[in-house]
Symmetry: C3
């Protein structure tokens, strides 16, 4: 481990050693939970607050379980009924929460960069953890995807990873690229309809393609992204069936990938849109391992940030 | 006790010994909570998730208190803002939650049989507890009603139990019949408007009547069901006042029952519709004992299912 | 300390010694939390239920943190989806919760006197804590304001306190007056537009003024109240800018107060309406100390009420 992390808002520019340390720690968390009682006392007496400006039961629950299994108290701050609806600024909300002596704030917000804004404005020792901001970053997702890959294919330098779907608006894709680049993967390929691919200069190291048959060929990992249905208009595909035909992962396409190609998806799945049932439920699917690793990665992150 | 229970989705076909064991265990829970601190450590380190697809603060709170008093962590999965609204299937939600290593999922759903569907599709060691599914079953309510009766009248073989109201759509009535039949009550009578009585062949052992004066005569227990106001149309009664006149439990009718007749209601009460104030608040009312027993029964069930 | 408190619904008529005892206890809570782990075990095994009929994430979170830091379990009873929407009376809700063996119910309700109604109807040993009822009282806010003042100016007998804004509809102002009067402040001044001042005979000891320049002159403490925007009509001020011009606390007005005048606000702030940014964020602002003290005061109150 290099320097002590106080916040986690993005994986961009994190050193490989830091990412590897967090993945190692996640495995240690998994092992610690495997025997007998599943509750550790690393964070006893600490308080983690979930500040979700976008609804996300799945990610919130994963963070909540992670914090509780470390012995922390968790408070859910339901922003739908909160003071921001009464006109309070984000900064006043932050400072109010800090004054209540929280140890960590897990934040999700639709505006890119909100967690970094909180870091810049924090006045106390609170740790900020990004649970997803706009199109910008979702660092714990990047870590859990990296961990899931590493458990099957620790030889990152040999891996070709294809990420397919709405890359342009995906914080998952961005955090995946940051993690996988730091870990030294051989190649990353983006695939999707032109309107959902990122600007050409955003990721110069990544190959972009509108042809999924080509992009999946020989891939070791396929990460399928969730299609936000309101994005269909940007795709020039007439409907979901057409999207599936062009960009869905079905058995025929999966057969073009490497024989042991890992199939991943951040969830929740749109079956029949991004992915066929046979693939989602097939032997190469790592979707549920991703979910399980999500809890361990979040335990690792909270343990790391809140370590005294 | 016969076999170890892993799930509880219905009381139907549970042996009498199993039901008695759960009631005994509920009493043991009550006694364990009566002295000093009310927190036990039977389920320390275990996680119970409330998965309520229908709102129910009352039942959810009862389960939450039961789990916490056994030392478990409780996570409320607010399905109103969850992935199912994003199109995720129930099975993907189940498998996602299982991947997070929950010990029990307490589920309420408006569709009959959903908890059994979860049991059939569960892939891990998670226990499924039915907190009410459609018109089908509400087993912890059946147990708490049986416990409340047993505390006053353990001589089930002598008891006549009258259940009055919307039997047809009532999971409470069904679970009550299953529990009381297993415990050997002498007679069960259903009473309500024709449109709210069940099909004749569903409960051949039960006497059905539209005449509450007759059905309450000599009863040892009167279980009044909550009227869903949208069911009025099926009753051919013009309004709530007319419903109360025909099927409300008032002092005059209660006087027709056995002198010590227990008055029960699953709550929340519609006063002046199913039950008169004088009866709800009178000395024969067991409504609040039912609530108290609800927590103990749920402690017993969670303790039983999650015992290692 | 004089008599043991069982409920806290108002500060009106509480003896000075009781208020001072609660403030002392809040300081003891703060000190106990300052070293090492922040979790005490005073209320281990006890259950506190938040019963909020009005949304308030801020106050609810403060009570939740207070209870958890004392080791209690906390259940949030989300009344928006509860039985009261199914027609259950407040009394039936109360008795149902009592039957579940709660130790304290923290209640917020828009109707004046609801917490006292609960006290009058409680059947068990449950403690009722008022978290704000209508325009009537918000006793923990009164205590935290008194504590914040005492930390800087324990010489209450020398203090002039100006409370500015919508006094008429403010439970905060009323509880502040009760606390500060008991603690023996020299003078309290109310200031606001005529339509937002209380009736002349409600607080005979308080000076009322529509002229903020006069009311702030020489003040030792300025408590700015939040303007409910729907109250604008009652002010005869055309808009928020005009309100700020007449009743906002800006640096020019603050300069008219005593040199060390404490600036307070219960939050959430309407910046540019009640208070200028420079003042809210300036060296005399005690707003965040109020928030921090809120948790300690609520720990003190819960500890006091639930002491065996």
């Amino acid at each position: 481990m290099t320097t002590h992390l106080r916040h986690l808002t993005t994986l961009e520019n994190l050193p490989r050693a830091t990412i590897e340390h967090l993945l190692d720690r996640a495995i240690a968390m998994r092992d610690a939970c495997a025997h007998g009682t599943r509750k550790l006392d690393l964070l006893t007496g600490r308080t983690v607050l979930n500040l979700f400006f976008e609804p996300s039961t799945r990610t919130r629950t994963s963070f909540e379980l992670a914090a509780r299994r470390l012995g922390a108290d968790v408070v859910n701050f339901n922003i739908g009924v909160s003071s921001t609806t009464k006109g309070e600024t984000l900064y006043d909300t932050l400072h109010t929460l800090e004054a209540m002596h929280l140890d960590a704030i897990v934040v999700r917000h639709k505006v890119d960069g909100t967690p970094d804004e909180l870091v810049r404005n924090a006045m106390s020792g609170v740790s900020i953890v990004n649970a997803g901001d706009g199109h910008h970053a979702h660092p714990t997702q990047g870590l859990l995807d990296a961990l899931t890959i590493r458990q099957h294919r620790p030889d990152f330098e040999n891996l070709t990873v294809t990420i397919c779907g709405d890359i342009r608006h995906s914080r998952v894709a961005r955090s995946d690229v940051h993690a996988l680049t730091a870990l030294g993967v051989k190649a990353i390929r983006f695939c999707g309809p032109a309107g959902l691919l990122p600007d050409a200069d955003e990721f110069p190291q990544v190959q972009c393609s509108e042809d999924f048959d080509a992009a999946i060929a020989g891939a070791d990992v396929a990460i399928m992204l969730r299609l936000q249905k309101e994005r269909m208009a940007a795709t020039e595909l007439p409907d979901e069936a057409a999207y599936f035909q062009h960009y869905g992962l079905d058995p025929r396409r999966l057969a073009r990938a490497d024989r042991g190609c890992l199939v991943m998806h951040p969830g929740p799945l749109n079956r029949g849109i991004e992915i066929a049932d046979e693939v989602a439920d097939g032997p190469q699917s790592r979707v549920l391992e991703q979910v399980a690793n999500g809890v361990f990665v979040r335990m690792a992150v909270l343990g790391e940030l809140l370590a005294r």
